[in-house]
Amino acid sequence: MRVYGTEITSRLLLGTAQYPSPAVLAAAVKSSGTEIITVSLRRETADGSGAGFWDSLRETGCRILPNTAGCHSVQEAVTTARMARELFDTPWIKLEVIGHSDTLQPDVFGLVEASRILSAEGFQVFPYTTDDLVAGEKLLEAGCEVLMPWGAPIGSGQGLRTPDGLRAMRAHFPDVPLIVDAGIGRPSDAAQAMELGMDAVLLNTAVAKAGDPAGMARAMALAVEAGRLGYEADPMERRDMAVPSTPVLGLAEFA
């Protein structure tokens, strides 16, 4: 997969929040085989706690994808993105402009506006969006070269609520990298996303809140790989009726 000119081998992107400890996070990152981890920015205390976290991130060797989580306006998201670029020294930004506090649904109008501003400033925007095709087109016009539709509300673990919407996105944007971001709960959800032709999956809570995060990270990695291989192998069409798989020609008659 190529995103903004960068070749990515692993199709699993992993969030770094909510793990029981930094050691468990590090183990999960390692067993997931991910090359891209998401991070955020929060108010610093004078004891410099953020610096230690940043050092541990760099040790993973992964590319950093900072987010604008928690931003509800274009102004907040743009300011946060500029701060993230300086802090993490990357033009990549996972752009979130949240429109609804209960569902954490993206505000696609604000998202398009913020994408236009940031793209013009040289950012490489990864927009957290819905599966709305028109919003997707507007984001591409605004300079985005990748789209990240939600699977279900962030942290809900519901899996893909609208597989048909994702299928339509794949058909409508055949050459645009599509990354399902949010809502994945189980390995089967990740496999389903990949079978639909998504290019990658971004998840966090499903691994961080599993009983064994490193084990789940590995399970997700295998599911993503299996789903992708399945998509590339062109699955058969569903049928309404049974069709014998064993040849009937030459069947013995005993009656």
Binding site: A17, V39, L41, R43, S49, A51, N67, T79, E86, L87
Partner: protein, 65 residues
């Protein structure tokens, strides 16, 4: 001079942003700053003068999804 730093009222004697960060004990290389809602780049901090009541945000890397 009284300013608001990360939503907390603080009293500082320095006037430029770089010196204020130093006075408040922040490791200047490991934080990003915004003044009254607008980003201030690292290389601009020395030139930016703070005023009474200014709102300063000092952010650091944090876990995120």
């Amino acid at each position: 001079m009284k300013i608001i730093v990360n939503a907390e009222p603080r009293d500082v004697s320095a006037t430029d942003l770089q010196a204020v960060l130093h006075e408040l004990g922040f490791a200047c290389s490991a934080v990003a700053t915004a003044l009254n809602g607008s980003f201030v780049a690292r290389e601009q901090r020395e030139e930016v003068q703070l005023c009474e009541g200014d709102r300063l945000e000092v952010l650091a890397p944090m876990q995120g999804g």
